[in-house]
């Protein structure tokens, strides 16, 4: 197990450097004139130019700049945005909202997916099963950019069941509709995995044994089958969490939720390069760490899996 963790960590480091380098290169390589972009339309004096060049290391090579950035990142200094705010502060403001939204979405998705998945696996080929199969295909296909504005229009504005937008520091209730939208993007896959996994386990030997020694069907399903079937689902939920943290961009934009995605889009629109790279790097780290934890959890949950 220990050797596996070490190997995964080394792989993670490699991926982390690769990913941040790609993002850094995309944002900063061959920039036209960042100082003029900073100053806008106003002319910029020679001495200002010199001072700023010195401060942002603009006269150095591209790789040296990346080196400076990595050094800052590893010592916990994410740098400053072009508007002179500390990126770490901006992240600290935005992060809790996004985390709450993602967790709420995950809970909604898991509850619906697991209960509906188990139910349709128990009645395979029945009406409910067929309806959910078609429904999950449709949900799976719909881009968030279709679901989010339509949900806002129908449930937020026309029916008025939920608040259509959530301003600064939203309550859990204000986050419910966006979380539901976000949940739809991961729900379908979770449901299908639950269904397949339960259906497969129902046919396994240990179920027959349990039934043969006189356990009730209810107990066999709810304890034996469910416990074994949820292992792949839990892995999937973990992977989804990473995705939700990063993927709430459209949802946060539509519902005006001041989270990470919302800030990121604003940073891209105002051409705030350092802010974009800062946010994306942190999101990549979150994504990688969550994926690692999921892999380890997988091994802990299922004693049949041994990494050596």
């Amino acid at each position: 197990m220990f050797r596996y963790i070490v190997r995964r960590l080394l792989q993670m480091v490699l991926t982390f450097f690769g990913a941040t380098f790609v993002v850094f290169a995309l944002v900063f390589a061959n920039q036209d004139d960042p100082l003029q972009a900073l100053a806008g339309e106003r002319p910029i004096t020679e001495s200002q130019r010199l001072a700023l060049t010195e401060r942002y290391h603009l006269d150095e090579g591209f790789f040296t700049q990346y080196g400076y950035y990595m050094k800052g990142l590893l010592t916990g200094d994410f740098g400053e945005s072009l508007t002179q705010r500390k990126i770490a502060d901006l992240l600290a403001d935005a992060w809790p909202t996004t985390a709450r939204l993602a967790l709420l979405a995950l809970v909604i998705a898991a509850v619906i997916a697991i209960s509906a998945g188990v139910f349709s696996a128990l009645r395979r080929g029945g009406v409910f099963d067929n309806v959910t199969l078609v429904a999950t295909l449709i949900i799976l296909a719909m881009p968030i950019v279709v679901i989010a504005p339509l949900a806002q229009l129908v449930f937020g504005i026309q029916l008025g069941w939920f608040p259509p937008t959530s301003g600064a520091d939203p309550s859990l209730w204000a986050l419910f509709l966006p979380a539901l939208v976000l949940a739809s993007s991961v729900l379908a896959t979770q449901l299908r995995v639950t269904r397949t996994s339960v259906a497969e386990n129902l046919r396994s030997d240990y179920v027959r044994t349990a039934r043969a020694k006189g356990l009730s069907y209810r107990r066999v399903v709810s304890v034996h089958v469910l416990r074994n079937s949820l292992i792949p689902v839990i892995t999937l939920i973990g992977v989804d969490l990473g995705q939700l943290m990063a993927g709430a961009i459209v949802t946060e934009g539509v519902f005006n939720i001041p989270g990470v995605g919302f800030n990121l889009v604003r940073a891209i629109r105002t051409e705030d390069g350092p802010l974009v790279v800062g946010f994306v790097s942190v999101l990549v780290i979150v994504f990688l760490v969550v994926n690692l934890l999921v892999d380890l959890l997988y091994a802990a949950l299922d004693p049949r899996i041994r990494y050596e």
Binding site: T15, V22, V23, V250
Partner: protein, 311 residues
């Protein structure tokens, strides 16, 4: 795979594109014939085919569906309700929503097909060489794919698309195509790789090698035509997904822009005025949703028909 197949594969690979990858030599029917029999009976398949055909028709000849000019807008009918020709009403600039929705299909289809083709070509090259050569080549290419997959897709798309179209006068079409192509080839490369590994050890490849065929000929004339079925399914689904991502990027303001007509832009503008008029938001969203759904359903139906395990 039977010997007969390997002979025909050498002679006429293009005719074999629909041939089974790991099919058993059935009594009279091939796996492709079986699959077609399944498909013919599937309602979902026909539903998807009709939708796809309608969207393609819309993209090719929008004037078949509407005689209105999508760029003819008049502010005095801003947010006006449905009337005579404009059955979906008018948007906030007084443009005909129906005409703009019909004309929007073209950009979606162009981006979808071009970016998927690009992703497919990169996927073929990476997947073929990774699967065929194995060893160090495979290790390096797999690591590159790992890095690509570790960057959240939409984030990378935003940054890359923004980067590629810095010119404000350009409508962003080429940038979006390149962005999607360069970011989405990983799934097709993986499918190609595993298909190649599966068919590499087949007898007909060994026979070809013994007859003196080089790696290039083996890969492109023998292995590729026999591994292409599952690859095409992945690309069909990817086509639908890419149309959705194009709309998402345009929605966020980093995809198509300027005077380009796009469902994503229309949804973005419609969201801002949803309280005043819902038509300009709802119709592009419905068309986009149905288009994406159609391609994904088509791919899904074909895959189910070709997968013997699901029978």
């Amino acid at each position: 795979m039977s010997d007969m197949n390997s002979v025909t594969a050498a002679e006429a690979p293009e005719k074999l594109s629909a041939q089974p990858r790991r099919g058993k030599s059935d009594k009279n029917r091939s796996l492709a014939g079986d699959a077609w029999n399944d498909l013919r009976k599937s309602k979902i398949f026909w539903f998807a085919v009709v939708l796809v055909a309608a969207v393609l028709l819309m993209a090719a000849w929008p004037s078949l569906f509407t005689s209105a000019d999508p760029n003819e807008c008049a502010l005095n009918r801003k947010h006006a309700g449905p009337s005579g020709g404009a059955i979906f009403g008018y948007d906030f600039q007084g443009c005909d929503v129906y005409a703009r929705t019909i004309y929007g299909a073209r950009n979606s289809i162009i981006v979808g097909i071009a970016s998927t083709a690009l992703a497919g070509i990169i996927g073929i090259i990476f997947g073929l060489s990774s699967g065929y050569f194995g060893g160090a080549v495979d290790a390096v290419l797999s690591r590159i794919i790992d890095i690509m997959l570790s960057i959240p897709f939409l984030l990378a798309g935003i940054v890359l698309s923004r980067r590629l179209s810095s010119d404000p006068n350009d409508n962003g079409l080429l940038a979006v195509i390149l962005t999607l192509g360069l970011l989405t080839w990983t799934s097709s490369a993986r499918v190609m790789r595993s298909a190649v590994i599966a068919s590499k050890s087949q007898d007909y490849v060994a026979a070809g090698r013994m007859l003196g065929a080089g790696p290039g000929r083996l890969m492109f004339r023998h292995i590729l035509p026999n591994s292409i079925a599952s690859f095409i399914v992945v690309l069909t689904i990817l086509l639908g997904v890419n149309i959705g991502v194009e709309a998402t990027l345009s929605f966020l303001g980093v995809g198509l822009k300027g005077d380009a007509i796009s469902w994503g832009i229309a949804i973005s503008e419609g969201t801002g005025f949803a309280r005043v008029a819902s038509g300009p938001l709802v119709w592009p969203a419905v068309f986009l949703g149905l288009t994406v759904l159609a391609f994904i359903m088509l791919g899904d139906a074909i895959r189910d028909a070709f997968d013997p395990k699901l029978r």
